[in-house]
Protein backbone atom coordinates (compact mmCIF):
# COMPACT_ATOMS: atom_id res chain seq x y z
CA UNK A 1 0.00 0.00 0.00
CA UNK A 2 1.39 3.35 -1.02
CA UNK A 3 0.46 5.12 2.19
CA UNK A 4 1.75 2.48 4.56
CA UNK A 5 5.47 2.82 5.18
CA UNK A 6 6.84 0.05 7.37
CA UNK A 7 8.27 0.51 9.91
CA UNK A 8 5.66 3.13 10.78
CA UNK A 9 7.16 6.25 12.36
CA UNK A 10 5.04 7.51 15.26
CA UNK A 11 7.72 9.26 17.27
CA UNK A 12 7.49 12.80 15.88
CA UNK A 13 8.06 14.30 19.34
CA UNK A 14 11.48 12.67 19.46
CA UNK A 15 12.45 14.17 16.13
CA UNK A 16 11.00 14.74 12.68
CA UNK A 17 12.36 13.96 9.24
CA UNK A 18 13.67 17.05 7.44
CA UNK A 19 11.14 18.36 4.93
CA UNK A 20 12.39 18.01 1.34
CA UNK A 21 12.03 21.77 0.81
CA UNK A 22 14.20 22.38 3.87
CA UNK A 23 16.83 19.90 2.74
CA UNK A 24 16.99 21.64 -0.65
CA UNK A 25 17.49 25.07 0.95
CA UNK A 26 20.24 23.69 3.18
CA UNK A 27 21.98 21.96 0.33
CA UNK A 28 22.25 25.28 -1.47
CA UNK A 29 24.41 26.64 1.34
CA UNK A 30 27.27 24.20 1.31
CA UNK A 31 29.38 23.90 -1.83
CA UNK A 32 31.50 26.22 -3.94
CA UNK A 33 28.55 26.86 -6.23
CA UNK A 34 26.32 27.52 -3.25
CA UNK A 35 26.04 30.09 -0.47
CA UNK A 36 28.99 28.83 1.58
CA UNK A 37 30.47 32.08 2.89
CA UNK A 38 30.97 33.09 6.51
CA UNK A 39 28.10 35.40 7.48
CA UNK A 40 30.57 37.37 9.60
CA UNK A 41 32.81 38.20 6.61
CA UNK A 42 32.19 41.86 6.00
CA UNK A 43 34.68 42.40 3.21
CA UNK A 44 33.22 40.46 0.27
CA UNK A 45 30.10 39.26 -1.44
CA UNK A 46 30.38 35.70 -0.12
CA UNK A 47 29.93 36.98 3.41
CA UNK A 48 27.16 39.41 2.48
CA UNK A 49 25.18 36.70 0.70
CA UNK A 50 25.50 34.36 3.65
CA UNK A 51 24.50 37.12 6.02
CA UNK A 52 21.40 37.82 3.91
CA UNK A 53 20.39 34.16 4.10
CA UNK A 54 20.89 34.14 7.87
CA UNK A 55 18.84 37.29 8.31
CA UNK A 56 16.00 35.94 6.16
CA UNK A 57 15.97 32.83 8.35
CA UNK A 58 15.99 35.00 11.46
CA UNK A 59 12.91 36.85 10.19
CA UNK A 60 11.12 33.56 9.48
CA UNK A 61 11.82 32.23 12.97
CA UNK A 62 10.80 35.54 14.57
CA UNK A 63 7.59 35.70 12.51
CA UNK A 64 6.32 32.36 13.81
CA UNK A 65 6.51 33.52 17.43
CA UNK A 66 5.49 37.15 16.90
CA UNK A 67 8.95 38.51 17.68
CA UNK A 68 11.31 41.00 16.07
CA UNK A 69 14.18 39.35 14.20
CA UNK A 70 16.68 41.26 16.37
CA UNK A 71 15.40 39.25 19.34
CA UNK A 72 16.55 35.89 17.93
CA UNK A 73 19.89 34.39 19.06
CA UNK A 74 21.08 31.30 17.20
CA UNK A 75 22.18 28.33 19.33
CA UNK A 76 22.90 24.65 18.77
CA UNK A 77 19.44 23.57 19.90
CA UNK A 78 16.86 23.83 22.65
CA UNK A 79 19.16 22.36 25.28
CA UNK A 80 21.72 25.10 24.74
CA UNK A 81 18.95 27.69 24.62
CA UNK A 82 17.62 26.48 27.97
CA UNK A 83 21.10 26.64 29.48
CA UNK A 84 21.76 30.11 28.08
CA UNK A 85 18.42 31.49 29.21
CA UNK A 86 18.33 30.04 32.71
CA UNK A 87 21.99 30.31 33.67
CA UNK A 88 22.39 33.57 31.76
CA UNK A 89 19.43 35.26 33.44
CA UNK A 90 20.20 33.85 36.89
CA UNK A 91 23.82 34.94 36.78
CA UNK A 92 23.02 38.42 35.45
CA UNK A 93 20.32 39.00 38.05
CA UNK A 94 21.85 37.39 41.10
CA UNK A 95 22.10 40.70 42.91
CA UNK A 96 18.31 41.05 42.66
CA UNK A 97 17.58 37.65 44.13
CA UNK A 98 18.43 34.00 43.96
CA UNK A 99 15.10 32.18 43.74
CA UNK A 100 13.94 30.32 40.62
CA UNK A 101 10.63 28.50 40.05
CA UNK A 102 10.13 25.65 37.61
CA UNK A 103 8.00 22.49 37.28
CA UNK A 104 8.78 18.82 37.88
CA UNK A 105 7.58 17.82 34.40
CA UNK A 106 10.07 20.07 32.59
CA UNK A 107 12.61 18.62 30.18
CA UNK A 108 15.92 17.53 31.69
CA UNK A 109 17.62 20.43 29.89
CA UNK A 110 15.74 22.74 32.27
CA UNK A 111 15.77 20.53 35.37
CA UNK A 112 19.48 19.70 35.22
CA UNK A 113 20.36 23.32 34.50
CA UNK A 114 18.43 24.31 37.62
CA UNK A 115 20.22 21.60 39.61
CA UNK A 116 23.51 23.10 38.51
CA UNK A 117 22.38 26.55 39.64
CA UNK A 118 21.46 25.07 43.03
CA UNK A 119 25.07 23.92 43.32
CA UNK A 120 26.09 27.50 42.56
CA UNK A 121 23.98 28.80 45.43
CA UNK A 122 20.61 29.52 43.84
CA UNK A 123 17.41 28.24 45.39
CA UNK A 124 14.98 26.42 43.09
CA UNK A 125 11.34 25.47 43.66
CA UNK A 126 10.17 22.48 41.59
CA UNK A 127 6.38 22.59 41.42
CA UNK A 128 4.02 19.63 41.05
CA UNK A 129 1.57 19.95 38.16
CA UNK A 130 -2.09 18.99 38.58
CA UNK A 131 -3.07 15.40 37.63
CA UNK A 132 -3.90 16.56 34.09
CA UNK A 133 -0.34 17.87 33.70
CA UNK A 134 -1.22 21.57 33.92
CA UNK A 135 0.03 24.11 36.40
CA UNK A 136 -2.35 25.62 38.98
CA UNK A 137 -1.78 29.37 38.67
CA UNK A 138 -2.85 30.13 42.23
CA UNK A 139 -0.24 27.67 43.47
CA UNK A 140 2.36 29.23 41.20
CA UNK A 141 1.56 32.70 42.51
CA UNK A 142 1.87 31.42 46.06
CA UNK A 143 5.43 30.26 45.34
CA UNK A 144 6.53 33.68 44.05
CA UNK A 145 8.65 35.67 46.48
CA UNK A 146 10.41 39.02 46.60
CA UNK A 147 13.68 37.35 45.68
CA UNK A 148 12.24 35.31 42.79
CA UNK A 149 14.12 36.31 39.66
CA UNK A 150 13.01 33.72 37.12
CA UNK A 151 10.10 31.40 36.32
CA UNK A 152 10.74 28.68 33.71
CA UNK A 153 7.75 26.71 32.38
CA UNK A 154 7.60 24.66 29.20
CA UNK A 155 4.95 25.42 26.60
CA UNK A 156 4.18 21.87 25.44
CA UNK A 157 5.25 18.83 27.39
CA UNK A 158 7.32 16.38 25.36
CA UNK A 159 5.83 13.22 26.88
CA UNK A 160 2.16 13.98 27.28
CA UNK A 161 1.72 16.90 24.87
CA UNK A 162 -0.24 19.12 27.27
CA UNK A 163 -0.18 22.87 26.65
CA UNK A 164 0.47 25.17 29.60
CA UNK A 165 -1.40 28.48 29.75
CA UNK A 166 1.66 30.58 28.93
CA UNK A 167 -0.28 33.83 28.55
CA UNK A 168 -1.74 33.53 32.05
CA UNK A 169 1.64 32.71 33.57
CA UNK A 170 3.20 35.59 31.63
CA UNK A 171 0.63 38.05 32.97
CA UNK A 172 1.52 36.93 36.47
CA UNK A 173 5.31 37.13 36.08
CA UNK A 174 5.12 40.50 34.30
CA UNK A 175 2.98 42.00 37.06
CA UNK A 176 5.57 40.90 39.60
CA UNK A 177 8.57 41.90 37.44
CA UNK A 178 9.90 38.35 37.40
CA UNK A 179 11.60 37.10 34.24
CA UNK A 180 9.70 34.40 32.36
CA UNK A 181 11.48 31.73 30.30
CA UNK A 182 9.54 29.24 28.16
CA UNK A 183 10.99 26.03 26.76
CA UNK A 184 9.06 25.87 23.49
CA UNK A 185 10.96 23.02 21.84
CA UNK A 186 7.72 21.14 21.16
CA UNK A 187 5.24 23.86 20.32
CA UNK A 188 6.16 25.77 17.12
CA UNK A 189 3.86 24.84 14.28
CA UNK A 190 1.49 23.12 16.71
CA UNK A 191 0.28 25.95 18.92
CA UNK A 192 0.04 29.63 18.03
CA UNK A 193 2.78 31.65 19.73
CA UNK A 194 2.84 35.40 20.34
CA UNK A 195 5.62 36.34 22.71
CA UNK A 196 4.19 39.84 23.22
CA UNK A 197 0.64 38.76 24.01
CA UNK A 198 2.04 36.02 26.25
CA UNK A 199 4.51 38.32 28.04
CA UNK A 200 7.35 35.90 27.49
CA UNK A 201 10.88 37.22 28.15
CA UNK A 202 12.90 34.32 26.78
CA UNK A 203 11.88 31.34 24.65
CA UNK A 204 13.89 28.28 23.65
CA UNK A 205 13.31 26.94 20.14
CA UNK A 206 14.73 24.17 18.00
CA UNK A 207 14.47 23.10 14.37
CA UNK A 208 14.40 19.32 14.45
CA UNK A 209 10.91 18.96 15.93
CA UNK A 210 9.53 21.15 13.13
CA UNK A 211 10.89 19.24 10.09
CA UNK A 212 14.19 21.11 10.23
CA UNK A 213 17.69 19.78 10.90
CA UNK A 214 19.18 18.69 14.22
CA UNK A 215 21.94 20.79 15.75
CA UNK A 216 20.34 24.19 15.38
CA UNK A 217 18.08 26.17 17.68
CA UNK A 218 17.41 29.68 18.86
CA UNK A 219 16.75 31.67 21.97
CA UNK A 220 14.30 34.52 21.83
CA UNK A 221 15.50 37.33 24.13
CA UNK A 222 13.11 40.24 24.62
CA UNK A 223 14.31 43.78 23.71
CA UNK A 224 11.46 45.83 25.22
CA UNK A 225 11.62 45.79 28.17
CA UNK A 226 15.17 44.66 27.66
CA UNK A 227 16.20 41.31 29.07
CA UNK A 228 19.89 40.94 29.83
CA UNK A 229 21.70 37.65 30.22
CA UNK A 230 25.29 36.51 30.76
CA UNK A 231 26.79 34.75 27.75
CA UNK A 232 27.74 31.12 28.33
CA UNK A 233 29.95 30.72 25.28
CA UNK A 234 32.57 33.40 24.73
CA UNK A 235 34.56 34.25 21.65
CA UNK A 236 34.10 36.46 18.62
CA UNK A 237 31.10 38.29 20.01
CA UNK A 238 28.58 36.95 17.51
CA UNK A 239 24.86 37.31 18.18
CA UNK A 240 25.34 40.61 20.00
CA UNK A 241 27.74 38.98 22.40
CA UNK A 242 25.19 36.50 23.71
CA UNK A 243 26.48 33.49 21.79
CA UNK A 244 29.84 33.45 20.06
CA UNK A 245 30.77 31.05 17.29
CA UNK A 246 30.65 31.14 13.49
CA UNK A 247 27.06 30.91 12.33
CA UNK A 248 26.21 27.63 10.60
CA UNK A 249 24.56 29.08 7.52
CA UNK A 250 23.09 25.83 6.17
CA UNK A 251 21.65 24.88 9.58
CA UNK A 252 20.21 28.34 10.14
CA UNK A 253 18.72 28.45 6.64
CA UNK A 254 17.19 25.03 7.33
CA UNK A 255 15.61 26.23 10.57
CA UNK A 256 14.32 29.37 8.87
CA UNK A 257 12.76 27.43 6.01
CA UNK A 258 11.25 24.91 8.45
CA UNK A 259 9.68 27.70 10.50
CA UNK A 260 8.43 29.48 7.37
CA UNK A 261 6.69 26.30 6.21
CA UNK A 262 5.32 25.63 9.68
CA UNK A 263 3.88 29.14 9.81
CA UNK A 264 2.27 28.81 6.41
CA UNK A 265 0.89 25.30 6.75
CA UNK A 266 0.17 25.12 10.46
CA UNK A 267 -3.59 25.28 10.27
CA UNK A 268 -4.18 22.61 7.62
CA UNK A 269 -1.48 20.40 9.03
CA UNK A 270 -2.85 20.52 12.56
CA UNK A 271 -6.38 19.60 11.54
CA UNK A 272 -5.03 16.70 9.47
CA UNK A 273 -2.83 15.44 12.34
CA UNK A 274 -5.59 15.87 14.90
CA UNK A 275 -7.95 13.81 12.73
CA UNK A 276 -5.41 11.00 12.62
CA UNK A 277 -4.72 11.26 16.36
CA UNK A 278 -8.44 10.99 17.13
CA UNK A 279 -8.73 8.06 14.74
CA UNK A 280 -5.94 6.31 16.66
CA UNK A 281 -7.46 7.05 20.07
CA UNK A 282 -10.94 5.94 18.93
CA UNK A 283 -9.43 2.73 17.64
CA UNK A 284 -7.93 1.91 21.04
CA UNK A 285 -10.08 3.47 23.75
CA UNK A 286 -12.79 0.81 23.72
CA UNK A 287 -10.29 -1.70 25.11
CA UNK A 288 -10.50 -2.50 28.80
CA UNK A 289 -8.19 -0.70 31.23
CA UNK A 290 -6.75 1.81 28.80
CA UNK A 291 -5.97 5.28 30.16
CA UNK A 292 -5.03 8.53 28.47
CA UNK A 293 -2.25 10.40 30.26
CA UNK A 294 -2.58 14.18 30.34
CA UNK A 295 -5.41 16.51 29.48
CA UNK A 296 -7.18 15.67 26.20
CA UNK A 297 -8.36 19.21 25.41
CA UNK A 298 -5.28 21.26 26.35
CA UNK A 299 -3.06 19.12 24.20
CA UNK A 300 -1.20 19.36 20.89
CA UNK A 301 -2.89 17.58 17.97
CA UNK A 302 -0.27 14.90 17.38
CA UNK A 303 0.25 13.45 20.86
CA UNK A 304 -1.33 10.39 22.42
CA UNK A 305 0.14 9.01 25.64
CA UNK A 306 -1.68 5.89 26.74
CA UNK A 307 -1.30 3.44 29.60
CA UNK A 308 -2.31 -0.14 28.84
CA UNK A 309 -2.85 -1.43 32.34
CA UNK A 310 -1.31 -4.83 33.23
CA UNK A 311 1.03 -4.74 30.22
CA UNK A 312 4.59 -3.52 30.60
CA UNK A 313 5.59 -0.79 28.14
CA UNK A 314 8.91 -2.13 26.98
CA UNK A 315 7.55 -5.57 26.17
CA UNK A 316 4.70 -3.90 24.33
CA UNK A 317 7.21 -1.97 22.21
CA UNK A 318 9.01 -5.24 21.54
CA UNK A 319 5.78 -6.63 20.10
CA UNK A 320 5.33 -3.54 17.98
CA UNK A 321 8.53 -4.04 16.06
CA UNK A 322 7.09 -2.47 12.91
CA UNK A 323 6.02 0.68 14.75
CA UNK A 324 8.38 3.31 16.18
CA UNK A 325 6.97 4.67 19.44
CA UNK A 326 8.46 5.46 22.82
CA UNK A 327 7.66 4.21 26.30
CA UNK A 328 7.37 5.84 29.70
CA UNK A 329 8.70 2.67 31.22
CA UNK A 330 12.33 2.92 32.10
CA UNK A 331 13.03 -0.78 32.12
CA UNK A 332 15.62 -0.03 29.45
CA UNK A 333 17.62 2.00 31.95
CA UNK A 334 19.31 0.61 35.01
CA UNK A 335 17.23 2.73 37.37
CA UNK A 336 13.92 0.84 36.99
CA UNK A 337 12.29 4.21 37.55
CA UNK A 338 9.40 4.84 35.21
CA UNK A 339 8.72 8.21 33.59
CA UNK A 340 9.20 11.08 36.06
CA UNK A 341 6.63 13.05 34.10
CA UNK A 342 3.87 10.48 34.60
CA UNK A 343 4.83 10.09 38.24
CA UNK A 344 4.64 13.85 38.73
CA UNK A 345 1.04 13.67 37.47
CA UNK A 346 0.33 11.27 40.30
CA UNK A 347 -0.02 8.26 38.02
CA UNK A 348 0.91 5.15 39.96
CA UNK A 349 4.04 3.28 39.00
CA UNK A 350 2.13 0.44 37.35
CA UNK A 351 0.41 2.79 34.92
CA UNK A 352 3.64 4.67 34.30
CA UNK A 353 5.37 1.37 33.47
CA UNK A 354 2.51 0.51 31.12
CA UNK A 355 2.58 3.64 29.00
CA UNK A 356 3.35 4.27 25.36
CA UNK A 357 3.73 7.62 23.60
CA UNK A 358 2.44 7.85 20.04
CA UNK A 359 3.26 11.12 18.26
CA UNK A 360 1.98 11.78 14.76
CA UNK A 361 3.05 14.37 12.24
CA UNK A 362 3.24 15.77 8.74
CA UNK A 363 3.83 12.47 6.96
CA UNK A 364 1.50 10.22 8.98
CA UNK A 365 -1.32 8.52 7.07
CA UNK A 366 -4.66 6.88 7.78
CA UNK A 367 -3.26 3.56 6.62
CA UNK A 368 -0.45 3.83 9.16
CA UNK A 369 -2.90 4.64 11.93
CA UNK A 370 -5.13 1.70 11.03
CA UNK A 371 -2.14 -0.62 10.89
CA UNK A 372 -1.04 0.66 14.31
CA UNK A 373 -4.46 0.12 15.85
CA UNK A 374 -4.53 -3.50 14.68
CA UNK A 375 -0.97 -4.20 15.83
CA UNK A 376 -1.43 -2.60 19.24
CA UNK A 377 -4.67 -4.46 19.93
CA UNK A 378 -3.06 -7.75 18.97
CA UNK A 379 0.02 -7.09 21.12
CA UNK A 380 -1.92 -5.96 24.19
CA UNK A 381 -4.16 -9.01 23.96
CA UNK A 382 -1.18 -11.32 23.66
CA UNK A 383 0.70 -9.74 26.57
CA UNK A 384 -2.35 -9.73 28.81
CA UNK A 385 -2.69 -13.46 28.21
CA UNK A 386 0.86 -13.64 29.55
CA UNK A 387 0.27 -11.27 32.47
CA UNK A 388 -0.35 -12.59 35.99
CA UNK A 389 -1.70 -9.14 36.89
CA UNK A 390 -4.35 -9.38 34.18
CA UNK A 391 -5.29 -12.82 35.60
CA UNK A 392 -5.66 -11.37 39.06
CA UNK A 393 -7.63 -8.39 37.78
CA UNK A 394 -10.00 -10.76 35.96
CA UNK A 395 -10.34 -12.84 39.14
CA UNK A 396 -11.35 -9.70 41.01
CA UNK A 397 -8.19 -9.41 43.10
CA UNK A 398 -7.45 -5.89 44.26
CA UNK A 399 -3.81 -5.48 43.28
CA UNK A 400 -3.30 -2.70 45.82
CA UNK A 401 -4.17 -5.14 48.61
CA UNK A 402 -1.44 -7.59 47.61
CA UNK A 403 1.80 -7.54 49.59
CA UNK A 404 4.41 -7.28 46.85
CA UNK A 405 7.99 -8.22 47.47
CA UNK A 406 9.54 -5.07 46.01
CA UNK A 407 13.01 -5.61 44.71
Amino acid sequence: MANLNIPVYLDYSATTPVDERVAKAMHDCLTLQGNFGNPASRSHVFGWKAEDAVETARKNVAALIGADSREIVWTSGATESDNLAIKGAAQFNKRKGNHIITVKTEHKAVLDTCRQLEREGFEVTYMDPEPNGLLDLAKLEAEMRDDTILVSVMHVNNEIGVIQDIAAIGALTRSKKILFHVDAAQSPGKVAIDVDAMNVDMMSLCAHKVYGPKGIGALYVRRKPRVRIEAQIHGGGHERGMRSGTLATHQIVGMGEAFRIAHEEMETENSMVEGLRDRLWNGLNDMEEVYLNGDLEQRIPGNLNISFNFVEGESLMMSLKDIAVSSGSACTSASLEPSYVLRALGRNDELAHSSLRFTLGRFSTEEEVDFTIAEVRKAVEKLRELSPLWDMFKDGVDLDSVQWAAH
Binding site: E312, S315, T332, A334, L336, L386, P388, A406
Partner: protein, 133 residues
Protein backbone atom coordinates in the same frame (compact mmCIF):
# COMPACT_ATOMS: atom_id res chain seq x y z
CA UNK B 1 18.43 -1.92 22.51
CA UNK B 2 18.93 -5.09 20.57
CA UNK B 3 17.67 -8.34 22.04
CA UNK B 4 19.41 -11.67 21.58
CA UNK B 5 17.82 -14.21 19.26
CA UNK B 6 17.04 -16.46 22.21
CA UNK B 7 15.20 -13.69 24.06
CA UNK B 8 13.21 -12.92 20.93
CA UNK B 9 12.41 -16.61 20.42
CA UNK B 10 11.11 -17.03 23.98
CA UNK B 11 9.26 -13.73 23.79
CA UNK B 12 7.56 -14.58 20.51
CA UNK B 13 6.92 -18.22 21.34
CA UNK B 14 6.74 -18.36 25.11
CA UNK B 15 6.80 -21.94 26.46
CA UNK B 16 4.41 -23.24 29.09
CA UNK B 17 2.22 -20.19 29.54
CA UNK B 18 -0.65 -20.81 31.89
CA UNK B 19 -2.05 -21.31 35.30
CA UNK B 20 -2.42 -24.39 37.49
CA UNK B 21 -4.70 -24.89 40.45
CA UNK B 22 -2.81 -23.21 43.26
CA UNK B 23 -4.75 -25.27 45.81
CA UNK B 24 -3.55 -28.60 44.43
CA UNK B 25 -1.16 -30.00 47.01
CA UNK B 26 1.23 -31.11 44.29
CA UNK B 27 1.43 -27.59 42.88
CA UNK B 28 3.84 -24.97 44.17
CA UNK B 29 3.29 -21.33 43.26
CA UNK B 30 5.93 -18.64 43.39
CA UNK B 31 5.05 -15.03 42.70
CA UNK B 32 7.89 -12.54 42.80
CA UNK B 33 8.47 -8.92 41.83
CA UNK B 34 6.10 -5.99 42.10
CA UNK B 35 4.01 -4.06 39.60
CA UNK B 36 5.60 -0.82 40.77
CA UNK B 37 9.01 -2.15 39.74
CA UNK B 38 7.78 -3.10 36.29
CA UNK B 39 7.94 -6.86 36.61
CA UNK B 40 5.97 -9.63 38.27
CA UNK B 41 6.59 -13.33 37.64
CA UNK B 42 4.32 -16.18 38.61
CA UNK B 43 5.92 -19.60 38.30
CA UNK B 44 4.04 -22.80 39.11
CA UNK B 45 5.50 -26.28 39.35
CA UNK B 46 3.73 -29.61 39.69
CA UNK B 47 5.54 -32.60 41.15
CA UNK B 48 4.81 -36.30 40.89
CA UNK B 49 4.90 -38.73 43.82
CA UNK B 50 8.64 -39.18 43.45
CA UNK B 51 9.17 -35.45 43.90
CA UNK B 52 10.11 -34.84 40.29
CA UNK B 53 8.75 -31.74 38.56
CA UNK B 54 6.44 -33.03 35.84
CA UNK B 55 4.96 -29.75 34.72
CA UNK B 56 5.64 -26.03 34.98
CA UNK B 57 3.65 -22.97 33.97
CA UNK B 58 4.31 -19.25 34.09
CA UNK B 59 2.83 -15.88 33.50
CA UNK B 60 4.95 -12.73 33.58
CA UNK B 61 4.30 -9.00 33.53
CA UNK B 62 7.52 -7.34 32.51
CA UNK B 63 9.96 -6.60 29.76
CA UNK B 64 10.96 -9.07 27.05
CA UNK B 65 13.92 -10.32 29.05
CA UNK B 66 11.72 -11.03 32.08
CA UNK B 67 9.27 -12.96 29.92
CA UNK B 68 12.10 -14.90 28.27
CA UNK B 69 13.77 -15.71 31.63
CA UNK B 70 10.60 -17.17 33.07
CA UNK B 71 9.76 -19.04 29.88
CA UNK B 72 13.24 -20.56 29.89
CA UNK B 73 13.08 -21.75 33.51
CA UNK B 74 9.78 -23.55 32.89
CA UNK B 75 11.67 -25.61 30.31
CA UNK B 76 14.65 -26.15 32.56
CA UNK B 77 12.85 -27.26 35.72
CA UNK B 78 10.75 -29.93 34.03
CA UNK B 79 12.07 -33.39 34.80
CA UNK B 80 14.25 -32.10 37.63
CA UNK B 81 13.95 -32.92 41.30
CA UNK B 82 13.27 -30.00 43.63
CA UNK B 83 16.90 -30.01 44.72
CA UNK B 84 18.12 -29.91 41.14
CA UNK B 85 15.69 -27.11 40.29
CA UNK B 86 16.76 -25.14 43.32
CA UNK B 87 20.34 -25.33 42.10
CA UNK B 88 19.61 -23.32 38.93
CA UNK B 89 21.52 -20.06 39.22
CA UNK B 90 20.58 -16.75 37.72
CA UNK B 91 23.88 -16.44 35.88
CA UNK B 92 23.11 -19.62 33.93
CA UNK B 93 19.84 -18.04 32.81
CA UNK B 94 21.54 -14.76 31.95
CA UNK B 95 24.23 -16.58 29.97
CA UNK B 96 21.80 -18.76 28.07
CA UNK B 97 19.75 -15.72 27.03
CA UNK B 98 22.77 -13.41 26.59
CA UNK B 99 21.15 -10.80 28.82
CA UNK B 100 22.90 -7.42 28.95
CA UNK B 101 23.95 -6.09 32.39
CA UNK B 102 20.83 -3.92 32.83
CA UNK B 103 18.68 -7.02 32.42
CA UNK B 104 20.46 -9.28 34.90
CA UNK B 105 17.74 -8.53 37.45
CA UNK B 106 15.31 -10.44 35.21
CA UNK B 107 17.33 -13.61 35.67
CA UNK B 108 17.57 -12.96 39.42
CA UNK B 109 13.82 -12.70 39.50
CA UNK B 110 13.49 -16.02 37.68
CA UNK B 111 15.80 -17.70 40.21
CA UNK B 112 13.74 -16.17 43.02
CA UNK B 113 10.56 -17.48 41.38
CA UNK B 114 11.87 -21.05 41.40
CA UNK B 115 12.84 -20.75 45.07
CA UNK B 116 9.44 -19.29 45.96
CA UNK B 117 7.55 -22.04 44.13
CA UNK B 118 9.59 -24.77 45.83
CA UNK B 119 9.11 -23.19 49.23
CA UNK B 120 5.35 -22.95 48.68
CA UNK B 121 5.24 -26.63 47.74
CA UNK B 122 7.29 -27.72 50.75
CA UNK B 123 5.16 -25.68 53.07
CA UNK B 124 2.02 -27.30 51.66
CA UNK B 125 3.46 -30.73 52.17
CA UNK B 126 4.40 -29.87 55.71
CA UNK B 127 8.12 -29.98 55.02
CA UNK B 128 9.22 -26.90 56.83
CA UNK B 129 12.50 -25.92 55.31
CA UNK B 130 14.34 -22.79 56.19
CA UNK B 131 15.86 -22.20 52.84
CA UNK B 132 16.14 -24.25 49.70
CA UNK B 133 19.52 -22.76 48.96
Amino acid sequence: MAYSDKVIDHYENPRNVGKMDAKDKNVGTGMVGAPACGDVMRLQIKVDDAGVIEDAKFKTYGCGSAIASSSLVTEWVKGKTLEEAAAIKNMEIAEELALPPVKIHCSVLAEDAIAAAIEDLREKRGEKTESAA
